[in-house]
């Protein structure tokens, strides 16, 4: 109780601050867990959450946090260290730069921008895999990128709900 709720029903400060990282961790674990799909067709929810939280709550998704989360994603999925550990902070920085230039958000614009980021990240991940000597075919990675882009509204809805319920329940 005391961990999650203060006396007045507002979630504890620590929980609120950890929420974005927690959603990314959950997304990472979800991809590593056994789900009966032969073609690895899981959206990369972790990457989506990093992008979304960098825009919604930049202070709760710092660049070093994105790096640590990426490192965890590499370790969990058995990829060479440094692939998502590099791409997560790059995504976080790109979102910050874009937000500094563009004012206001519409779903379509956000979706388009996220799509570009996700596609770029997967192409880079494919290149990095080849660079570190565990070359992978491009097909499944691109399929994952497409599925990830399609899953954006779902992730955005989840993030918005977490934001309303837990991070800023007063608003």
């Amino acid at each position: 109780m005391s961990l999650f709720d203060d006396d007045d029903g507002i979630p504890a400060d620590r929980v609120r601050r950890a929420m974005p990282a927690f959603t990314v961790l959950l997304g990472t674990l979800l991809m590593a867990l056994p789900i009966p799909l032969a073609f690895g067709a899981m959206p990369s929810l972790a990457l989506l959450f990093v992008i979304i939280w960098s825009s919604l709550q930049p202070r709760l998704m710092p660049v070093w946090g994105a790096f640590l989360l990426g490192l965890f994603a590499d370790l969990v999925s058995g990829l060479p260290l440094g692939i998502w550990a590099l791409l997560f902070p790059v995504a976080a920085i790109s979102v910050r730069l874009a937000d500094a230039r563009a004012e206001g958000h519409s779903l379509v614009i956000d979706w388009l921008f996220t799509g570009l980021l996700v596609l770029g990240a997967h192409v880079l991940a494919w290149q990095f895999l080849g660079f570190t000597g565990s070359a992978a075919p491009s097909g499944p990675l691109l399929a994952q990128a497409v599925i990830t882009i399609l899953a954006y509204p779902l992730a955005a809805t989840i993030a918005a709900r977490v934001q309303r319920r837990i991070i800023e329940p007063g608003f």
């Binding site: 789900i35 799909l37 660049v63 370790l75 969990v76 058995g78 075919p137």
Partner: protein, 355 residues
């Protein structure tokens, strides 16, 4: 939520002498932004460094990976339950749709198989006898551990599964993993109580195989999808690969023991032909981890064999004696064997003492 309000300061009065001077707040903000950018740059550089180090030394981080495996393996054991249930219900339903038809087909197949099994028993007995005659030494397969595997994880670019045995059970990287249906893959990372295996369908997986029907050898290479490529050299102009041909491990390379079912050819019109793994990566179930079948030898210094005289030319038992006996023989009859033996020490320099 309730932070003390920032200490209010008096804004500096704009001066006529320095009209462009910024407030200390603005300066502090820009300094902070600069520091933040610097910090972000340092982190990116560090991540890039990690990537480069991983290229130089692919083994880097394997211990951390193992520890992570140990940490998440209980989660995986929990998550397996619903996934396995869904799969078994699906299998249950599809079994019941076709039970009569399947039963008839299986009975016919069983009769044929029983006949062939009898023949095979006779052949196996023959083979054993022959092998004893030529005193062939076969390496033995050795079970290291057995556990259960989670199904393939959904990470694009990497086809892997996690098994419930690890370094504390003797599992080491590179060991072959065999499931009920056939070969499953090989161990890549080990934690104490869990290990990750590279599945046959991973793009980096290469398994030396042969076609059971005609003995053609080749490689079953993963593609990252659900099927394998069968890469082989065409050795016969009259025979050709057929749909339904079974691929088994050939034992080449010494890692996988020979004769383990690997895949079934499903398409021959493509180049290279496609094969479906017999152990379904999405439902491996219980698996066995075996020691590498024929581990690379540890070399010990041994004197090279002397060149022996041709037994047909010199059939005397003395002629087959080792080279250390050669100086004693070389002076004595039979004269036909002596030149051949005295010529032996130069072929093995420094090993046989000359008088």
């Amino acid at each position: 939520m309730s932070r003390p309000p920032a200490p209010s300061r008096l804004r500096p009065v704009p001066s006529r002498l320095r009209p462009g001077r910024r407030t200390s707040f603005a300066r502090r903000d820009s300094n902070l932004a600069l520091l933040g950018a610097l910090f972000a740059g340092v982190i990116l550089a560090f991540a890039l460094l990690l990537l480069v180090m991983q290229r130089v030394n692919p083994e880097m981080g394997s211990r951390m990976r193992g520890a992570t495996l140990d940490a998440i393996s209980p989660l995986i054991a929990v998550a397996r339950v619903p996934a396995d249930a869904v799969r078994s219900i699906g299998g249950f339903l599809s079994d019941h749709w076709r039970v009569v038809e399947t039963n008839r087909r299986l009975e016919a197949e069983l009769a044929a198989a029983a006949f062939r099994a009898d023949q095979a028993d006779v052949l196996a007995l023959n083979l054993k006898h022959m092998e004893q005659l030529i005193s062939l030494r076969r390496p033995e397969r050795r079970l290291v551990a057995s556990g259960v595997a989670s199904s393939a994880s959904a990470t694009a670019g990497l086809r892997s599964a996690i098994i419930s045995v690890g370094a504390s059970d003797g599992v080491r990287p590179r060991m072959p993993v065999i499931a009920a249906g056939g070969l499953a893959g090989r161990v890549t990372d080990t934690g104490l109580g869990a290990a990750r295996i590279m599945l046959l369908t991973d793009a980096n997986s290469r398994v030396p195989v042969k076609v059971l029907r005609n003995g053609w050898t080749g490689l079953a290479t993963g593609t990252g999808g659900t099927l394998l490529d069968f890469v082989y050299d065409k050795v016969s102009a009259t025979d050709r690969l057929r749909v339904g041909d079974r691929l088994v491990t050939s034992g080449d390379g010494g890692l996988f023991p020979p004769g383990i079912p690997v895949a079934l050819i499903v398409r021959v019109d493509s180049n290279p032909p496609k094969a479906r793994p017999l152990a379904n990566p999405a439902g491996l179930g219980p698996v066995m981890v075996e020691a590498p079948w024929l581990p690379p030898p540890e070399f010990v210094p041994v004197t090279p064999a002397p060149s022996e005289p041709d037994l047909a030319v010199a059939p005397e038992p003395a002629a087959a004696a080792p080279a250390s006996a050669a100086p004693a023989i070389s002076g004595a009859p039979p004269a036909s064997a002596a030149p051949a033996i005295s010529g032996a020490p130069p072929a093995a320099p420094g090993q046989a003492p000359r008088p």
